[in-house]
Every structure is written in C-alpha cells, then in structure tokens.
C-alpha cells in the first residue's frame, strides 16, 4: 500500500501541475493545492515539496509590497483577446492589493491599461482603459478609496513584448499595477 502511494505520488504531483498550467498559467490557488496534496500523499518521501511549502509560509518582516512570496508581488494582470473582464484566476491577486491599499490609505497605485497591437490604435486606447477600469472597480468594491487609484490607458503604445505572434500579444494585453 505504501509502495503504491510512493509510486503514485510523483505522477499525481505532475498531473496536478499540468492541470494547474493548462487551466491558467499563474493560478496561485492551484499552486498551493499542489504542494499541500503532494506532501500529504507521500508523507515520507516528499523532501523537496515540504521544503518549498515551508519557505512559502515563512514570515516576512519587511514591507508587504516587497515580499516576493506574497500575492502583492504579482503586479501584472493579463487579459484574454478583446476582453476587459478580469479573469477569475486574478481575483485573489486583486483582492490582496485591495486589502493592502485599504489598510494603507496613504498609498496610491497607478493602473496602466494596455492592449495588443491588433486592431486600431484609438480603439485599443479605449480597450486599455476598460481593462484598467475593470481592476479599479473590483478594488473600489473591496473598500479602496477612489483617490488611491489612478487609471491611465496606453493602448498599444507601450508594448511589453514586440513579436507579432500570440505569445507577445498575450503579454501585451495587461494592466500594470504601479505603486
């Protein structure tokens, strides 16, 4: 029984990883689940996995914004093609930023909306603003005050990636959070 578990553990681990990747590339929640289940399943043989889990839950004494393991470290929110609806996998990231801003009312964040190069420049300026406003609305709903949020759309004028392909376009459809 124990042997079967040990054999299955890495497979389960990798399956979960694949599942996590294919649904959404940066799902923090799915990532946490993976490490929890893998340590729980194998118990004896999970040296690596338990080490990483320990460092993730390690305490951070500095500015929460500087904590590389915090959801606050995610400063770019990506969008689907022609969409300005926040994807569900980013809701906890936005929640974390909203909580931080609500707790620190002196802090101001610039929400810079961007679009890929497809379509016209002026329309993309509108699309970038819609994206930044979608993030802004969620934050306002979480108790962030209006004067802590500055919305600026750059449309397709400030690309993060410069190739003319799907990968670059995906990287350019974004809202950047700039503190």
């Amino acid at each position: 029984m124990n042997k079967v578990l040990i054999l299955w553990a890495p497979l389960l681990f990798s399956l979960l990883l694949v599942a996590g990747c294919s649904s959404t590339p940066t799902s923090e929640a799915a990532g946490a689940e993976v490490s929890e289940q893998s340590t729980g399943a194998d118990g004896t043989a999970g040296g690596e996995a338990s080490t990483s889990a320990a460092s993730q839950s390690g305490e951070w004494y500095g500015d929460p914004l500087e904590n590389p393991n915090s959801l606050l470290a995610t400063r770019v929110i990506y969008f689907d093609f022609d969409q300005s609806t926040v994807r569900t996998d980013y809701l906890d990231v936005i929640q974390a930023h909203a909580d931080y801003l609500a707790a620190n009312p002196q802090m101001v964040v610039r929400l810079e909306g961007h679009a890929d190069e497809k379509g016209t420049r002026e329309y993309n300026l509108g699309l970038g603003e819609n994206r930044a406003n979608a993030v802004r609305s969620l934050m306002l709903a979480q108790g962030v005050s209006d004067n802590q949020l500055i919305v600026v759309s750059y449309g397709e004028e400030r690309s993060a990636a410069f190739e003319h392909n799907d990968e670059s376009w995906a990287l350019n459809r974004r809202v950047e959070l700039i503190y």
Binding site: K118, G126, E157
Partner: protein, 392 residues
Amino acid sequence: MIKKNLFILLALLIWQPLLHAELTIEITEGVEGALPIAVAPFAWQGSGSPPEDIAAVINADLQRSGRFKTLPRADMPARPGTVEEIEFKDWRTLGVDNLVVGQMQSNGAGGYQIQFQLLDVFRGEQLTGYSIPTTAPNLRSTAHRIADLIYEKLLGVPGAFATRVAYITSVKQPEGETRIDLNIADADGHNPETIVSTSEPLMSPAWSPDGLKIAYVSFEGGQSAIYVQGVYTGKRRKITAFKGINSAPAWSPDGRKLAMTLSKDGNPDIFIYDLITRKLQPITRHYAIDTEPAWSPDGRSIVFTSDRGGKPQIYRVSAFGGKAQRITFQNSYNARASFSPDGELLTLVTREEGKYRIAVQDLESGVMQVLSQGSLDESPSVREPVWSPIKQ
C-alpha cells in the same frame, strides 16, 4: 478615377520599419495597365554639374505612384533636352506613350528657371508645358510639383507628390530609454524634420486643412493630452488634458473645430472642441467605447467607431449631436473610418478571417471591398502616415 487613386494611396504604400530618420516608401505592386512614360534628363545650362537631378525626382514620383511604368535611363535612345531634338519614332518603337523633356538654367544669384514639356509620343505634340522659377532649397519641391502637373494631365486627378507626410518614429536609445519623435517629410521621404521629441508615447497626428498645424496626442507627463502645434512656428497649445483619455483629434473641414475622444466622464465619448470659442460640445453619450471621429467633407456629420453593439462598428452622427446610426454590417470588426474627398466612400480597417485589412465601403450601396492583403494592416503600415492636405 478617385476610387482608383484612393486604391493606389492606400493599398500600395508599405512603410518600412524606421531605423533611421530618413523615411523609405516602398511600393510593392503597380497597377495593371500602368502608363509607359519616359522622363529624359533635363538639360543643364550653368557651370559645373546641376545641383539636383530634377528628372530623376520626377521619374521616381511617377514610378512610386504605381500608375506609371517609367523607362530606365539606360534604355533611352537619346537624351533630348528640347522638343527639336526628339526623334519621336525612336520612342514609339519602345512603346513609350509619353515623353517629358526639360531644361534647368541658373540665373546666377542662387535662382533657377526650370522648363518642361510633356509630349504625346504617337501624335508628336505637346500636352502641357511650364516654365517655373525656383531656388536652390526648393528644387526638389519644384520637381514634385512638375510630377503633379504630369500626373493630373495624364490621369485627370491631382497628384499628391508635392505634399508632406507626418509620421511617428520610436527608437530605442543605447541608455535604454525610447525616443519617440513626430516627424514631417516630403511625400517621397526626403527632408525629414522632427517637430516633437519625447520619451513618452505620441500618437494620432492630424494636419489642419490649411496644412499649417498638426494636432496630436502626447503622453508626456504620464497622461494623454491633445496638442495643436504650428508646423512652421514650432509653437504649440495644449487643447485638452482631462482625466482619462484625450485622443483621436480630427479637424473639421473649415479648420475651426476639433472632434476628439475624451473619457473624462468615465468612458470614451466623442466631443467637438471649438478652437476659437474654446467650448466643448458633447456629441455621443454612451457607456461603450466611442472613438475615432472623422468629419464628412461637408462638415455636417461625423463617423466614429463604437462597440455599443458588442463589437466595434462604424456609426454616423450629425456634427450637432443626436442619434447615431450604424453604417457597417459586414465583418465583426470595423474601425477607424474616414471619408473620401467626394464623401461617397469610407475607408476603414476591417477584420476578416482574423486578419486586419484596409477596406472601402460605398456609402450609398453599403458594399464593402477589401483592398489590402496583410494581416495587421493598420499599424504601422497604412494608417499612420498622414498626408498633408496642401501642396507645398
């Protein structure tokens, strides 16, 4: 004829990536039935070598239009400088329909007199001819004007060679910063001059109808704002810098007003700003994206892009406001419309099979015709350069 002319301008111009200040305009395709023409080198009456190869400038203009097939100099049977020197039969056998001959004289004090004649090779007669005084700095623009005269005489519509073009370049600097410039140049890419230089995005340059001013959007200071700048004075005025988007300036045909997109009230809407009274008039009020206004030639209506129906489409509204009517129905993405000078056609960007292309829609019939064959035909290829409305 105008339809064809529009086609040439839109479909055949490909703008090369700009690594240097000099603008390169490459024509990748001519039209069927391009007119065979020869431009003989102009005879030079002065000391030394001529300061400019006038015939070469004219030849390049005509060739670049796609409407002419020019005869290379090496294939010319002779180099006549005057009508008397022409052996018409030699040119006929080469299949050349028209021949241009000319002379350039120096008047000593930095001035020049340029004469040219456009000839029908088969009839052996002159179609048009001019004698034009000019100066050293204006030699190229005089050559462009001659190309315009030839173009109009043979095709019946004015040429656009003696115009200027505005374009934006973005060049990464060694220090890591990006330098963004608004430039103007002759229509053939010569004489480029930078009129705005910044490290923040610049967009949407628009010439005033008199060709003396350019409206544009600058993000200097971290926020979009609309400026109007005198092309030859360098002086500029900040028109709007509201919270949110300030963009898409479009001059009214009389040059008195600017239609524009502002999102100061929460989402992008179309407004008209009167440059004289400085009053702002709202034209659309809708929670969707309304942008890219363009005036009809009579100044009475405005077309704009709106995604109020879910996807971007073109709508038309009175320049005094009121109810907007959707006018594009083919394809799921239509944007950045503008009128042809006669007001009968709209040029626009359409998405067809996932590719963005330039199309023309006949306003009366509603029929759309896709002109280009690229996949991202909007930026920076077709739309970005903006032609000056006047001839320099």
